[in-house]
Every structure is written in structure tokens, then in C-alpha cells.
Symmetry: C2
Subunit: 336 residues, 2 copies
DNA sequence: ACTATAAATGTAAGCGCTTACATAATTAAA
DNA sequence: TTTAATTATGTAAGCGCTTACATTTATAGT
């Protein structure tokens, strides 16, 4: 693999000049520019990004930490961030934290060790202190889906409570009073907030929260099934079931059907996130839209304008509002 | 950020010694080892991976190219590769190629410029020559889902034709004779092969292939819908529909239902891939299992044993056989 | 105690770039 | 022309590590 030195020799100029034409950040006469380009082409020269990073202390890459590499939600997030950044000529280094503090730290440290210019973090398990310590060490971070009071301007979050509220309220407006809830894992902020929204809507309607109608899942399909089964066994009077994400909603739907319930006639189900497959479920899932792709873009924008100064600073929206998407899985309560 | 130099000063030893304790690849006395560890801890020292790579010409990271960052299929693939490699202390740098030759090249070159020790490629658009040229330049690559005659030992593929064959044969065995097919994009190898398998099964049963029963989609849900609609309008005599992946199958199911067809009574549908959500569709999707996670692990294993010599070489399986997963969306043809 | 060996540590030359600074070439002004 | 101001190019010192080689120190054998 050819080095800059070989190029400089072939072009009959100095290292510095070659570097200048590579980076285009200093004036070089047209004539030598051509010579250098020719030499690079002939040698098939590709700059060694590692050496560039070491010398310049910039890597043109941004780190992205997600909880998982699979799943519609994270997929959309990675996708939107990557395409926006790539369009700007930046590269994304993705790692997974698996919602475990230790693994998240490891992943973040990997990104730092690779000298990413900025980190976009969907960090769920790591402590607030740790995140702040990163800033103290001059690591540029922006958080998606996590709200830290003192780091407001670096947080991009969804109003999860509002989302939970909207879902439950929609059920109430259809006449439901016995409403079950399958929550995400309580250690996750978003799960807590969505549940809080649920309770808020219940309270507003004068319905008291019944913990036997609430199941804690882990955001996976199978836990939607488990959740339904557990709830149904324990207290099968509910006519609506709110799930903290679409995956669990689809699992719950499947389980409900196995119990012979027809949706939405006998049981209404509402999801959360509005992932792509929600509209391909049967019945089509009524859910709360989570504009994760937009949030990802916003984070990418933030990096572009704050780190690379490459964007006529788009005003950054730090708090996104979810919307209810009405489809077929929520029905009016029949007075039977 | 502390450097190795500061550590060496704090510990009262030379740079080289610090480097030795970091890498653990040369003998250092217990006493100095301790001194160095203490100094590192006190300074909060983290090796600069960039500098390490430059000096050692190894990066301990492997590059992964996938077509998209979203979607169940790629999600499973990324996930299995990452977790296996991470367990071995290696890191994965993921990029997306978006099935476009130019973007795939760019992505691969990025990975090379980051000096990844090996590349795991799910390259769909880039030419065979290009891939071979990488090897000529001593880039260690292993291909997933792509079969190149002369690179057999670096290819890990699924027997897609067998998969297509199994799906169609299953329909035939249930008495279906009018079988429609929604294919993936023809420029993709796997799509072609699956279709070939379909044709093979047809031929074996003495059914002639009818191109008006075949629609070319792009592997997305919406194209499953479009496909069904187009086929149905044109020639609605088919009683079974084979789709080249589960996403399109779910789209087709939705569209079929909108036309009032009941599945599987009036129309049987079979998918391909057996992604997680296939079992949460209604009816549960009969499909062909694509062991992508295992294939990913196999690729990771290959890297571990061939590049890092870190694995008691697991025998590498280069050709995976798919299996039919029977669920509810395929039914026997009613003699009505 | 005295070598011969082995073990531990140090020295210094890179790895392939960027960039401040110095120098040379060009252009414009007088 | 000369000189000053610009513009283009070169020189060389790093960036933070690894590693061949040299040197020193410890261990064992006699």
C-alpha cells in the first residue's frame, strides 16, 4: 500500500504538498495539484486514515452506541444517523451496549480509543456521573433517549410520558375502563415514563391503577406473550391492553388470539413506537409514533454543526412529541 | 488524556516496559508490572488505539459491511457477529453499502483505511473482480451470502436454491398447482437462486412456469403488497403465493386480506428467512429458515481462527442448508 | 567467586501522516 | 528595475505507540 512519501517522490514534490492537496486546506498551484493527483492515481494511493487521525487528532468518524444491533427501533435509529452523516462525508462506528453498564462503558471506551470526533449515545445503563465525566474529559457526546437535567442541550428525547398518556387516553375514550399494561423493564427511563403517562391518563379518568393489571416485560415479543398470559390468568376482566412497545404488542396479540380472543372486538391492543411492521400486523396496530429516525437525524445534525461546523446550524429540537397513530387494533368497548 | 510517556515517567520505567505490560507479550518482572499498573490507574491511562494501530499495523477490529442497518435479517447478522467477536476482545466496525456498488466500495475503503484486520462482507453490488483485487492487496476478506467460484474458502452461503425449492415443493405437496411468486430484486444473487429453486420445484411437478405469476420486488414489505396487488389483478387464479422473504410475505398477507381473502383457506402464503416476527404474524408464517445468525458466527469464527489464531479452528461450514418451518399460513388446497 | 545463560529493561528508529515555520517563487506597486 | 507583499513549496518536528536490538541485571552451574 503506497504511502504519501512514495506519492511525493513520484510527483516530485514534498510530503507537505501532497498532504495539502489531499486535504485541500491550503493553496497549491493547479500545476502541482495535477501532478500529485496523477501520481496518486498511478500508485493507487489511499490515505492511511489511522495515520491521519494520529497526526491531526481528528478522525472524521463519529461513534454510535446503541443497545442492540437488531430490532426495528435501533435499526431505524442507526440507519437515519448513518445516512445523514455519510452524506456529509463522515463515517459512523457502531457498537452495542446491550443495556449493561459494563458493556456500555467498554463500548464507549472503544469509541474513545478510536478517537471518534463525537459520540452519539443511546446509553441506558451507564450512570449519569459517568456520562458527565466524559464531558469533563472533553469527549463530545450527545444523548439520544436519555434526559439528564444538567445536560439538557446534549439530550434529544421523546416525551415518553405523553406517549403513554396518549395511548391510555385513547383507550379510555373508546369506553375502556379495565385497561391492562405491559411495561418495558423498569430500569429503563423510557419504560418508566411511558408507564407514568399511563397512570396519569388513568388518574385523569378517575380510574385507580391496579398493579395486578400491570406486567413488566423486557421489550421483546416473547415477553408480550408472557405478559398477556400472566395478566389473563390473573385477572381477565380487562378489555384493553397497552403495551410499551410494538414488539410486545405483537406478542400479546398472538397470545390473545391463542386464547381465542378476537381483536379488537373482545380485546383492544395498543402499541408504542410505530415500527414498520406495526402496519403489517393483523389487525393493523394502533400505536404511538416514535419519531426515532428524526431524532437520529437531529443528533447527526447536532454533531455536524457543533463538531464539524459543517451545517448552517439547524435549530436543535431537544424534546420530541409523540403522536397517536390510529389503526385497527383499538376498538370501542361494546356494551355487552 | 495521559500518554504512555507520562505513565513511564510516573512508574519510573521506560516506554518500552510500559508497552510490554500493556500488551502482555514479553516478560516483565512482577514488581515493575505492579508499578506500571499503579501508574496507569492513577493517571487514568487508556492506550490510544490509533497510535497502537499505526505502530503495530494491527487494529484489533474487524470491519463489517451489510446492505442496510435496519431490517430483521441484517440485524440478526450484525448481532451474532458482534457478540462473538466482542467475546474474543475484538471490535466490529459496521458500515452500510445500500446495495449500490459505489457505496459498497466507499464503505469497504473506509474499513480498509481504518486498518481493520479483516473484513466480513455482505457485498451485493460490487463486482467479483473488485473483491478479488482486495485479496491481491492483502486485504483479508470473508464473504457472507455471496458465492464466488474461485474464492470458495472465503464464502459462507446459504443454499438459496434449495430454500426456494423447499418452499414451492411444500405448496405443491399441499395440492397447489397455481403458485405465484414474489421475487427479490433480480440483480441479487440470492433472489435469483431462490427463484431458480421455485422453478425447479415447479418443473419437477410438471407445472410450467408462468411469468404472469411472478413479480419482482425489492425485499420490502410494501413490495409484497404491490406484488400481491399486481398479481391478483392480472391473474387471480393462484392459490398459493411464495415470497422471497418474510417482509414481502407480510406485505402480501396484508394486501390479500384487504382483498377479502382468508389465509390459508383461500390463499396460502410462504415466506423466506424465518425472521423473528414471522411467528407473530397472523396467521403464523410458514417459511424457510435462513440460519443467518449461525452464518454470521461462522464468519466471525473464520476471522478468529484465520486472522487472530485465537480459536481452535472450528471446521468452517461454507454451505448452509435451509429448512422449511411449518406454521399456519400454508394450507391444503380445498377441492372446491 | 567466576562464567555462561537467561531474564529484564532500556534505547531509538520508525509507523504515515499533519502542520508550524522557514524559504523560495511569483506578482503587484512604485 | 526594485521592493514589498503574496502565494507556493519545503523542512522538520511531532502525534502515541511498537519492536528490533543493545545493555544491564539476575540466576545457575562449577
Amino acid at each position: 500500500m503506497a504511502t504519501i512519501y512514495e506519492v511525493s517522490k513520484a510527483a516530485g514534490v514534498s510530503l507537505a504538498t501532497v498532504s495539502r492537496v489531499i486535504n485541500g486546506n491550503a493553496r497549491v498551484s493547479e500545476r502541482t495539484k495535477e501532478k500529485v493527483h496523477k501520481a496518486m492515481a498511478e500508485l493507487g494511493y489511499k490515505p492511511n486514515a489511522i495515520a491521519q487521525s494520529l497526526a491531526s487528532n481528528r478522525s472524521n468518524s463519529v461513534g454510535l452506541l446503541v443497545s442492540e444491533l437488531h430490532g426495528s427501533f435501533f435499526g431505524d435509529m442507526m440507519s437515519s444517523i448513518e445516512s445523514m452523516l455519510r452524506d456529509a462525508g463522515k463515517h459512523v462506528v457502531i457498537t452495542a451496549g446491550h443495556s449493561e453498564a459494563e458493556k456500555e462503558k467498554q463500548a464507549i471506551e472503544f469509541l474513545i480509543s478510536r478517537r471518534c470526533d463525537a459520540l452519539i449515545l443511546n446509553a441506558e445503563a451507564v450512570s449519569e456521573e459517568y456520562l458527565k465525566s466524559l464531558l469533563d474529559n472533553n469527549i463530545e457526546i450527545i444523548l439520544i433517549n436519555r434526559n439528564i437535567e444538567s445536560l439538557q442541550e446534549r439530550c434529544i428525547v421523546l416525551d415518553n410520558q405523553l406517549g403513554g398518556y396518549l395511548a391510555t387516553k385513547a383507550a379510555i375514550e373508546q369506553g375502556h375502563r379495565n385497561i391492562a399494561y405491559i411495561s418495558g423493564p423498569h430500569f429503563k427511563e423510557d419504560a418508566q415514563q411511558r408507564l407514568a403517562g399511563h397512570k396519569q391518563a388513568l388518574e385523569e379518568a378517575g380510574i385507580s391503577f391496579d398493579s395486578s393489571l400491570c406486567f413488566e416485560g423486557g421489550y421483546h415479543e416473547s415477553e408480550g406473550q408472557d405478559g398477556f398470559n400472566a395478566l389473563f390468568k390473573q385477572n381477565n376482566t380487562f378489555t384493553a391492553l397497552i403495551c410499551a412497545n410494538d414488539e410486545m404488542a405483537s406478542g400479546a396479540m398472538t397470545a390473545a388470539r391463542e386464547h381465542g380472543l378476537s381483536i379488537p372486538n373482545e380485546l383492544s391492543i395498543i402499541g408504542f413506537d410505530n415500527v414498520l411492521f406495526a402496519r403489517y400486523l393483523y389487525p393493523k396496530l394502533t400505536t404511538v409514533d416514535n419519531p426515532i429516525a428524526k431524532m437520529g437525524e437531529m443528533a447527526a445534525n447536532w454533531v455536524l454543526s457543533n463538531i464539524y461546523n459543517t451545517k448552517t446550524s439547524t435549530p436543535i429540537n431537544h424534546l420530541f412529541k409523540p403522536e397517536l397513530i390510529i389503526r385497527d387494533s383499538l376498538g370501542a368497548l361494546h356494551a355487552d
